[in-house]
Amino acid sequence: MGITIEIKDLSKNFGKKQALKHVDLQIEQGMFGLLGPNGAGKTTLMKVLTTLTKKSGGQVRLCGIPVEQCGQVRKMIGYLPQDFSMYGNMGAYEALDYLAVLSGIEKKKRAILVPQMLEKVNLNDQHKTKVKAMSGGMKRRLGIAQAIIHNPKIIVVDEPTAGLDPEERVRFRNLLCEIAKDRIVILSTHIVGDIEATCENIAVLNLGEILFRGTVSELLQAVRGKVYTLEVSTLELPMMQEKFLVTGILTNGSTANIKLIADQAPMREAKQAEPDVEDAYMYLMNHTSASKGRE
């Protein structure tokens, strides 16, 4: 059985609130990006995959094993929660060692793996630093170490780059890409740049529904030829923002260079531009909410 995740018709309700609505997804080996605004249901979807929440309907299989078999599933997943933390009075080494025990790793292996993992996440000179004294970034790195230490087939990381400085973010992305070589890494984020840099396959989630499923270039394809740049006076800006989907503004004295998405060229002087993922994402969000509005 290959490394795949099959999600069919997955629903999750919290009381009356539907956090996931009939989600269908097939995830293959490699990095997989889950993109969506706040409250889209990313965390909920990840919790279903990691057995932390019971689904309300549908089927989920990880490497062929139904998610209901919690014990089996937990063995092959590593999970970094959105708000990862550890007991404050434990040092980095101690905390990782504790979690490695929870993963069922033998003592001899732990003695090798724990320092190795700390080195991998650049915490090797912080063995004794207490968790309560760690910065947000250090905690996240500890979190990724505990998610990969037992060499799981599937790694689920929930907004791993939130709150990291740019340098750390790049390191983190590279680390994830490196790990993803022979397994699935599912990464959620609302930072479009992360997805662009790392993921081949992505899904865009909003209000519990999948809006888009495919590769990054397919996403870009949807807006190709619809992105324009234009120079306008700053006085015209509010009007432009009202009329068009403006994704970038660069003011320069009394004029502004704006980037907008439109089905046809808005004015003669508008020049076509190369779209990036952010444009595509904005277009997708706007498009679907607009079409929703019409219904």
Partner: protein
Amino acid sequence: MFGTLLIKECKQILKSMVYYIYVVVFVLFLSSQLGGDITENLQRPQPGQENYGMTNSQKESDIMGKMLAELVLETERNSYATYPMGFYKGVILNETELEKVKAIVEECTGKNWQQVTGEITEHFNSYDQSSMEGAMQAQVTFSVFPRDDLSYAEFCEHMEEICRLVGAGSSYQKEKWSQGVSVPGTYEQAVEEFEAICTKDRITGAIARLFCDYAGIVLAILPIFLGVTRCLRDKRAQVVQVVYAHKLSTAKIIGSRYLANVCMAFLPVIITLLIMQMPYQYHARTIGVAPDLLAFLKYSCIWLLPEIMVVLAAAFFLTELTENVISIFVQVFWAIASLFSSMTLKGSFGWNLIARWNTLGDTTAFWQQRQELLWNRGFYLILSLVMFVLTIVIYEKKRREGETIYGKIFKRRR
């Protein structure tokens, strides 16, 4: 894996402030209660001593004599001590009720009330009332003799009548005196009792029993805090999700936490008892008795361990169920209720959480009630295992569903 986790949990406990408070409070409480030297009560009685302490008597004539004496004294003052809900309540009777009680006294003694009160004065005047010793001695030796042809059955009926007049929780309730009353011992009884301490308890057993009596009181409360702290630590440190997502089974996770807490809670208990026992081992040898060196182990394992286990199991269970500190309130109430519901401070174990034996010795009486204690402790041992299993069930349910049963009911309402 279980062993490793157990050790890690123990280390965590050693790092927590709550644990040190636990140890300090425990040791302070015990040394305040058991600090003094009590070896003088463990000497072979000599003939011609002024008194030979008190002894428990189940002889019907003794019971009748002591109960009537108490009744006469309380009636004379018209002030009856009762403990309806475990708390003291003084009862004062009205004229007609008082007359009825006096009539019963007259019926039981065959004398009229004036004669009876005359005897009281006479008895107490014959002792030196100004010294503490004398007053005590007067109190314990005071007895009122029933008339010769009063049968025990009649006496019991009269006592029931008194209970109706005075109300619930008085000393005239049959449960309170049917186990025997305290009467001054004779030399022969004192020797017999001393022999029992030497042969059955081998000195250290009696000490261990007194220790368990005091320790049992604090151990009904202190371990609650350890349990609640452990269960809430995950939530406070936000590690609930991380722990849930790992592979180790719920039984092992909860099992290691519970066992670590039981061990760490028991450790200071057993060490304190061992240390407290030591001088008495020495004392036993000086009076020619081979002490029971393992008394501390036997008594604490049978008497205190089940209590620690059940208190911790209840704390684990309630805290995992509700995810708040409510278990502290529930369990402190439980402990206090148990403390006040015990009829006597000596034996009558029943199903009380806190088993009392607030006396040094009384070995024969203890060995008569030992079986009851064993049943009691066995019950709590089983109860703790049941609650432990329930904790696992609840944790597993939370782990699978991501929501608590309690949370489902209460958070939705908001």
